[in-house]
């Protein structure tokens, strides 16, 4: 009797399906849509900056650059931006790097908590902390300044936050978690044998830290510094909250005021010219970043073996000092500004905590909120969170699969294009998108003022993060798992659905929540694209702030923090792993 498995084969006929597009080409087409849009949005500012309208149509002209670089105001803005981003980087590193070393390389008890708090710190909206800092350090009403005023009456004894350095400090506090996460990875992957070699040869631990550990970690720290600097250069939220009302401008707020001037017509040409200049700067910084990372690999600190890095035994005093340092950062970097914000939301006008002030605590600011508007914003934000995260993951899966798995020609170019939004400031994307929607698409697709414009730009912006995350996640899945399905007759889409997707699920859940939370707090892109018809929650809060009703803005902000809590909880519950490296905040 013939064995059942030995029955005649039925897989003889092979159809090559010449006429239908293959699933692979469908996938490539899906991946090319965002890639083309990204390239388009980056070309637009260049085009806008070099054209001038004439009677005959358009002509090439460098007038925008001439106007930009002959105006002293531009130079003041550049100088402000330089001071702002330098102070931000220094602040971020001086809190982030020691914290990373403490968490990764010492025996500090309960340090897992630090990781959780730092990851959360990345998600706390920077503009909320900035609002808190204004309440703390405003020259007149600031809590700290008022306290100082009790001691010294003179004006010089006031800390003014509304300076480039002051804003840089606040921005740096917000970027410290990023510096922490990036350098923690460096400290974690250090080869303990190199330090053991130092110890065996009689080099004490303090010297070993200075002579071996830090030099080895230097490329990683430098890379983090460049990365933080790139973000600081184009940061919008802190300068928008603190600087705009005090007329202290940095690059991104300059761009904002050119497009939304208080008087006169928008100057897209000037904004675009400045945008192109900063794009070039960001490009150089990104190139430097990769150079430094590559140099770092020459040290071959990572050997692929799994080991636990050597940990420095902390004495009781050491533990106290370490927690003191970490606590100091967590309090002034995260807790104090948010607590101040909530305190302010409960008062009709700002005052120091006192018995009299406590007597005045009320919910009047909350009752006075423009609730219908706020709920509109909340609805739009909720829609964007769900739609952006889902679309980003879908598109990123298509792109990452092509980049990592297929052998399609030009896949590395596709990867580079998908990475571009990481390197280019979000405000430039917004500028570009506003221009496209207002002037190019107006009559074709009236998308300006709709939530779909925000959706499109958010998706393009976050695809850089989605592809970084999925590139890593797919690369960790053995290619033979997919090939086994392929050889046994399972089509590409079914392989993705039945094999790849389940294996990627943990990474995807994590990434989905992360993107949703970043969408929740997004203000930069929204600032140029939001109209009353497509308002988002952060724009409602910022709008109240801009109109000068600070305490009501604080109430709206407190509501914003409140709505965020369930998502933070989900993120901890599902993720509880560290935020993927190289996140854009």
């Amino acid at each position: 009797m013939s064995h059942p498995l030995n029955a005649p084969n039925r897989y003889h006929s092979i159809n090559t399906r010449c006429f239908l597009p293959t699933q692979r080409s469908v996938l490539i087409a899906i991946a090319l849509i965002p890639a083309a849009a990204i390239v388009g949005l980056l070309v637009i500012p260049i085009w806008v900056s070099v054209r001038v309208e004439t009677d005959a149509g358009f002509a090439f002209s460098l007038h925008a650059y001439r106007a930009l670089f002959s105006d002293p105001f531009s130079y003041r803005t550049l100088f402000n931006t330089a001071v702002f981003s330098a102070v931000a980087t220094l602040t971020a590193l001086s809190f982030g790097v020691p914290s990373a070393w403490i968490v990764e390389r010492t025996t500090l008890p309960r340090k897992g908590l630090v990781f959780t708090l730092m990851t959360t710190g990345l998600l706390i909206p920077g503009f909320l902390s900035a609002m808190g800092w204004v309440f703390l350090l405003h020259p007149r009403i600031g809590l700290v300044n008022a306290a100082l005023g009790l001691v010294v009456a003179a004006d010089w004894a006031r800390i003014n936050i509304a300076t480039p350095a002051g804003m840089g400090f606040v921005q740096g506090l917000g970027l410290a978690p990023l510096a922490f996460i990036m350098t923690a990875a460096t400290f974690r992957s250090a080869n303990p044998e190199l330090e053991e070699a130092a110890a065996v040869h009689g080099i004490g631990s303090a010297r070993s830290l200075l002579r071996v550990t830090l030099p080895l970690a230097l490329p990683g720290i430098l890379a983090a510094a460049i990365y933080v600097l790139t973000i600081g250069l184009a940061a919008f939220e802190v300068p928008a909250v603190i600087g705009l009302s005090n007329r202290v401008f940095t690059f991104s707020t300059y761009l904002y005021t050119q497009v939304h001037p208080q008087e006169g017509a928008p100057r897209y040409d000037l904004a675009a010219a400045f945008g192109v200049f900063v794009m070039a700067l960001s490009g150089i910084l990104s190139w430097l970043y990769f150079r430094v990372l590559k140099e770092g690999h020459r040290f071959a600190v990572v050997t692929g073996r799994s080991y636990r890095p050597r940990q420095v035994e902390l004495t009781r005093g050491g533990v106290r000092a370490a927690w003191g340092f970490l606590g100091f950062y967590l309090i002034i970097g995260q807790l104090l500004p948010l607590a101040t914000l909530i305190w302010s939301s409960l008062l009709r006008y700002f005052q120091l905590p006192s018995a009299a002030a406590f007597a005045n605590v009320s919910l009047v600011n909350y009752r006075g909120l423009p609730w219908p508007y706020l709920i509109d914003g909340l609805k739009n934000t909720a829609f964007l969170m769900a739609a952006v995260s889902t679309l980003v993951l879908g598109l990123s899966l298509a792109i990452s699969w092509i980049v990592v798995r297929s052998k399609a020609r030009g896949r590395f170019l596709l990867d580079a294009v998908a990475f571009l939004p990481h390197a280019v400031p979000g405000i430039i994307f917004a500028l570009s998108a506003a221009y496209v929607a207002l002037f190019l698409l107006r009559d074709v697709v009236p998308i300006y003022g709709t939530v779909f414009l925000l959706l499109a730009v958010y998706v393009l912006e976050r695809t850089s993060f989605g592809t970084r995350m999925l590139n890593n996640a797919i690369a960790q899945i053995h290619p033979e798992l997919e090939e086994a399905g392929q050889v046994m007759g399972i089509s590409l889409f079914r392989r993705m659905g039945k094999i790849l997707a389940p294996l990627l699920l943990p990474a995807c859940v994590n990434g989905w929540l992360w993107i949703a939370l970043l969408t929740y707090r997004e203000l930069t892109i929204a600032s140029l694209l939001v109209t009353p018809a497509n308002v988002t929650l952060p724009m409602v809060i910022w709008g109240l702030w801009q109109s000068g009703s600070f305490t009501r803005a604080a109430a709206a902000a407190a509501m914003g923090l409140f709505f965020m809590l369930p998502f933070l909880f989900f993120y901890w519950y599902f993720g509880r792993r560290l935020a993927p490296e190289g996140l854009r905040t």
């Binding site: 059942p4 498995l5 084969n9 003889h12 052998k407 053995h478 050889v487």
Partner: protein, 368 residues
């Protein structure tokens, strides 16, 4: 079953182009167990993956059965999912998010030909029974040992009822004892099912025990193809000879008739060696170097001296000096080890001849 003609494939990387397959011609008969044997980087896996459809060759033609699945002339490339073959991967590629049952069932429910639910169940259990894993059907894949994963991979490949089964170093991740056990099982099972097998390995013992036919590959070329004993006894190049185990090389020069003057003395060769004229090298394997304490053969026997004897379990490995040349000899260990002066016999049927320079050419090939 498989017909491969003039197959070429070049990989281009940053460090330059690597010729993975150069003009490969190969035929595998229906029902044959065919082994591709070679060191890493020889192109054997690329050849297997080209047959599977996981690599796209640059030029040439591959036919499976009556179907041309790749032809550069006809610009034809049938994707892997439509070739209808079974494959066992080096990593086993057991889907970690599924149970044993679902691993075997997935190609039957999601593949090209989908079966009804009840048929799937039967087919999965038939396949699992073949490899003795039917009791593990409900077990999640991550809880399987390496050997169990290997069996599930085999069951999954057989469940799609393929005429052609491809195996890529399926035993290399198993420990030595298990490897031997599974080897025997694979041989029996594939013989029983009558399936054609194309099997890749770098282990010559594995190749010889499993194969009906072997192709030895190096640097993207097939050096020699044939039955195992043919490759072992009558290698066409020193490189193939060396690949199948240790061998002594003796340089020589033809005299009149079938006599050769070698560096250790005059040796008589068989007529079938058909020695040309001029210088040559003779290969003789350690087990064919016969040692005896007293003269035992009329011809091809030379005096030698044992320098060392190592006991390896079933046999002794000797180092013998014959006229100043060091040779390796292997003998059963059923008696005491030999010592001191011995007589060394070279059976003429067991000697392989190559023209001088063949070894040097091989070395150059390896370096280049």
């Amino acid at each position: 079953m498989i017909r491969i003609r003039k197959l070429c494939k070049t990989f281009v990387s940053r460090s330059g182009a690597v010729r993975a397959l150069s003009n490969i011609d190969l035929t595998v008969e229906q029902g044959q167990f065919f082994v591709l044997l070679g060191p890493s980087g020889s192109g054997k896996t690329t050849l297997l993956r080209s047959v599977a459809g996981l690599e796209r060759p640059d030029s040439g033609e591959i036919a499976i059965g009556t179907n041309v699945v790749f032809s550069s002339e006809q610009r034809r490339f049938v994707p892997a999912e439509e070739r209808g073959i079974g494959m066992v991967f080096q990593s086993y590629a057991i889907w970690p998010h599924l149970t044993v049952f679902d691993n075997v069932a997935l190609p039957l429910t999601q593949g090209r030909k989908r079966l009804a639910r009840a048929r799937v169940r039967d087919r999965v259990f038939e396949a699992l029974k073949l490899v003795g894993m039917e009791d593990y059907a409900a077990r999640p894949a991550p809880l399987l040992s390496g050997g169990q994963q290997q069996r599930v991979a085999l069951a999954r490949a057989l469940a799609v009822n393929p005429e052609l089964l491809l195996m890529d170093e399926p035993l290399s991740n198993l420990d030595a004892r298990l490897r031997e056990e599974v080897r025997v099982k694979i041989k029996a099972l594939t013989r029983e099912l009558g399936v054609t097998v194309l099997y890749v390995t770098h282990d010559q013992v594995e190749a010889m025990t499993l194969a009906d036919s072997i192709a030895v590959m190096a640097d993207g070329d097939i050096l020699q193809a044939g039955e195992p004993d043919e490759l072992y006894r009558r290698p066409t190049s020193p490189r193939v000879a060396e690949f199948f185990g240790a061998i002594n090389w003796i340089a020589g020069q033809t005299l009149e008739g079938s006599r050769v003057e070698t560096e250790i003395g005059i040796l008589e060769l068989n007529a079938h060696h058909a020695p040309g004229s001029g210088r040559m090298i003779i290969g003789v394997r350690p087990e064919d170097v016969k040692l005896s304490p007293a003269p035992a053969h009329p011809t091809n026997e030379l005096a030698g001296k044992i320098l060392s004897a190592s006991f390896t379990g079933g046999e002794f490995l000797y180092e013998v000096e014959v006229n100043g040349k060091l040779l390796l000899a292997r003998a059963m260990s059923d008696s005491e080890a030999l010592k001191g002066s011995v007589f060394v016999h070279f059976p003429c049927a067991r000697m392989t001849l190559f023209p001088e320079g063949a070894i040097e050419r091989t070395k150059e090939g390896e370096n280049g």
